[in-house]
């Protein structure tokens, strides 16, 4: 079942086309990464999902409903622009955000305690928000985002500004929520986190969908044809276009793409006949490489 459907959405601001013909969907229980460079249209897309701004064209349905107001209370949203009421106390802040999602204080109080403890903020609960460090404020805002136990969480750049320890803490919490069946959509340009967390991704560049699908499939699409080879000797087969479609010599090693119909095993056999192979690896490109290549337009979608 799909929790979120984005269909042919377009949005322009003045003369800038922020989002063009964007479509993707997120399945129930998935962790979905919305990737893209700065200014790609991630935040615009998320704001349209949250019904903060409306698309010029296309349709967005959340939990099968196109009118977001009905489903708002089952969504938790952490915007890119962080902000809390500075003069409010930490504990009151959490209860307030639960209340405006329709959760009464009696219900949110024990939950707030648990979360403050889990994110190591319990000593700060009676302090004012303004007394907290930025990192702590960010953790507090995360609690405010999930205090009403939403079925769908949308996090816009959740990791920016967090140190490695807190990044790890947040990642663990996200995985825990996923195990409880929460669907999580988050935008980031930190590929490391995506590789650890996401099952599916949608990469946008200049407002367009450039890469979309299951993370493994995406990687295979990029990785299955690349072989990394280190060797001693004269590798005449590299120049044979019936075996190797193209190759890049990096000095220490060579990266090659097998010709059509040749698989990696055949390449290994041929290579072993001609040279002494010291390393043979089917290169799975990191998401980082895919990201950079995609953004630079080296790969046509």
């Amino acid at each position: 079942m799909s929790v979120l459907d984005v269909q042919h959405v377009e949005k322009s601001f003045e003369n800038v086309r922020a989002v063009q013909d964007l479509s993707f969907s997120v399945q129930d229980g998935q962790v979905f990464g919305l990737l893209g460079p700065n200014g790609a249209g991630k935040t615009t897309t998320i704001r349209m999902i949250m019904d903060i701004i409306r698309p010029d064209k296309g349709e967005i349905t959340v939990f099968g409903k196109s009118n977001n107001i009905q489903v708002r209370d089952s969504i938790g949203y952490l915007p890119e622009e962080r902000g809390l009421y500075k003069k409010m106390k930490v504990f009151d802040t959490i209860l307030f955000f639960a209340e405006i999602k329709g959760v009464p204080r009696s219900k949110s109080t024990p939950l707030a305690r648990t979360w403050l403890e889990k994110l190591e903020l319990e000593e700060w609960q009676d302090k004012k928000v303004v007394d907290l460090s930025r990192g702590m404020q960010q953790k507090l805002q995360f609690i405010c985002t999930i205090i009403h136990q939403p079925k769908l969480i949308i996090l816009d750049e959740p990791f920016t500004g967090l140190d490695p320890v807190n990044t790890g803490l947040l990642k663990d919490v996200m995985l825990e929520l996923k195990q409880q069946g929460t669907t999580i959509i988050f935008s980031t340009h930190l590929m490391e986190q995506v590789e650890k967390l996401c099952e599916s991704i949608c990469m946008i560049n200049k407002g367009q969908n450039v890469l979309y699908g299951n993370l493994l499939q995406v990687k295979q699409k990029f990785g299955q044809n690349r072989i990394r080879l280190s060797f001693d000797g004269e590798a005449a087969f590299l120049k044979d276009t019936s075996i190797v479609e193209k190759y890049d010599n990096y000095g220490q090693y060579v990266e090659l793409t097998p010709a059509n119909g040749k698989n990696s095993q055949e390449i290994l056999k041929i290579a072993a006949e001609q040279v002494t192979v010291s390393e043979f690896k089917i290169a799975e490109p990191s998401l980082n490489e895919i990201f950079i290549k995609t953004v630079k337009g080296e790969v046509a979608s």
């Binding site: 903060i52 809390l84 009464p104």
Partner: protein, 427 residues
């Protein structure tokens, strides 16, 4: 409903709990008490000393009438007069020597004042007044008044007329004012009515400006803390706007309530307290108002508050800094100021067509319709119609402002132009 209530509660508590609010709320009545009591304490502490006056009179007739007339004007403790007068008989040729001696006495403090009445006073209309302090105008005018009446009586006597008869014949005419309303006519001072209407309209005027700008600042503050995006993703814009306006308004009402209760207490019991210390203080009469005026005051305070608060809120959502808001708020300020200025015309003729038209313009009504009510010039059906029109305007404003608010609240940087604003509203 729960969401709106949560917003109202948060807004209310956050504002009532601030130091500024507490200080402002408590300090105001304290200041008022000080303002009323301090001068009275001071005047009590000051020992009233008799003023020693020497009079050199060359007329032989003025002093005898003047002395008791002046002494009568101000009494102090034990039924004594404030003024102790002494007549000096000085031959004309010794006058300058005597004056030099009296000057010395004044400087040493043995004498406060000496007055020289020349025999030409009936034609020159002038006496000489010598003192260290010649800025005690209250005292000097007592002397002048006493002397004038004494001398004019003497003049009348000399010309063979009876001063009492002249007094009766030349008495000026006063217009006794009666205010006519449905319950009949009642003796009442036009000046009192004017002052009460003026003060109440002035309070409304100040309150509308103050709380409107207060709301605007609150919104700019929230906008700068970037908290709005989460809130707006949880509640509808009009809920946020309503929460803000009602929450802050309730805070303002709390403050007003504390102020008016303490003002009421001060004006009721303050005088009693003061009289314990200083029995000579007399009551200042505050004219009693009919209760519909009080109801109208609260009603038009609330209507005006909502009208202007929604406008100021929309403005606050459009800008990023307070100084930017200062530059843009003049159209709203003008509405209030024009209404306030129109008061001075309408107070003279509250029944005129101009008054009726102006008071029915919703943005002017809180001041002008209320003014006409205090002047008994607004029939009930007009008031009811006006309240309905104001409520409809508020509803419309909430809708429009809510839309501006929804977009504006998330816009940072460039200020919107008028066409852009129209787009936001249609959005």
């Amino acid at each position: 409903m729960m969401k709106t209530f949560a917003l109202i509660k948060r807004e209310y508590l956050q504002n009532v709990k601030t130091k500024g609010f507490l200080i402002g709320t408590v300090l105001m009545p304290v200041l008022l008490v000080l303002l009323v009591f301090m001068p009275m304490f001071f005047s009590k502490m000051e020992v009233e000393k008799q003023v020693e006056i020497s009079v050199i009179d060359y007329t032989d007739s003025v002093y005898e009438v003047f002395a008791p007339a002046l002494m009568e004007t101000k009494m102090i403790q034990d039924n004594q007069s404030m003024y102790a007068l002494k007549k000096l008989n000085v031959p004309v040729e010794q006058l300058s020597a005597q004056k030099a001696e009296l000057d010395k006495k004044i400087l040493s403090g043995d004498l406060d004042v000496y007055i020289v009445i020349p025999d030409s006073v009936f034609t020159s209309n002038s006496v000489e007044f010598y003192s260290k302090n010649i800025t005690n105008f209250d005292f000097i005018s007592r002397v002048e008044r006493s002397l004038s009446s004494v001398i004019s009586d003497l003049r009348l006597n000399q010309s063979g007329l009876d001063p009492e008869l002249v007094e009766t014949l030349t008495h000026r005419v006063n217009a006794q004012t009666f205010k006519v309303d449905k319950t009949g006519s009642e003796e009442s001072s036009g000046f009192d009515t004017f002052m009460v209407s003026y003060v109440m309209v002035f309070i409304l005027y100040i309150a509308l400006l103050m709380y409107g700008q207060y709301i605007m600042r609150g919104i700019i503050e929230d906008k700068n803390s970037r908290v709005m995006e989460v809130v707006i993703s949880s509640v509808k814009p009009w809920q946020l706007l309503t929460g803000k306006v009602i929450g802050l308004g309730a805070g303002g009402l709390t403050q007003f309530l504390i102020w008016s209760v303490s003002f009421g207490l001060i004006s009721t019991y303050g005088l009693m307290m003061v009289q314990i210390f200083n029995p000579s203080v007399s009551a200042i009469a505050i004219p009693a108002l009919p209760w519909p005026v009080y109801i109208a005051f609260v009603l038009y305070f609330m209507l005006g508050y909502f009208l202007y608060a929604t406008l100021f809120a929309a403005l606050g959502s459009m800008v990023n800094t307070e100084s930017e808001a200062q530059n843009l708020q003049w159209p709203i300020m003008m509405l209030i100021i024009v209404a306030f200025m129109a008061m001075f015309t309408i107070i003279k003729s509250p029944d005129s067509t101009l008054a009726i038209i102006l008071s029915h313009i919703p943005f002017f009504s809180p001041l002008l319709m209320f003014l006409r009510i205090t002047l008994n010039a607004a029939p009930l059906f007009e008031v009811l119609l006006n309240v309905v029109v104001c409520l409809a305007t508020i509803a419309g404003l909430l809708l429009i402002s809510g839309k501006i608010f929804r977009v504006g609240i998330l816009m940072y940087g460039k200020r919107p132009t008028l066409p852009e604003l129209m787009k936001w509203i249609k959005y």
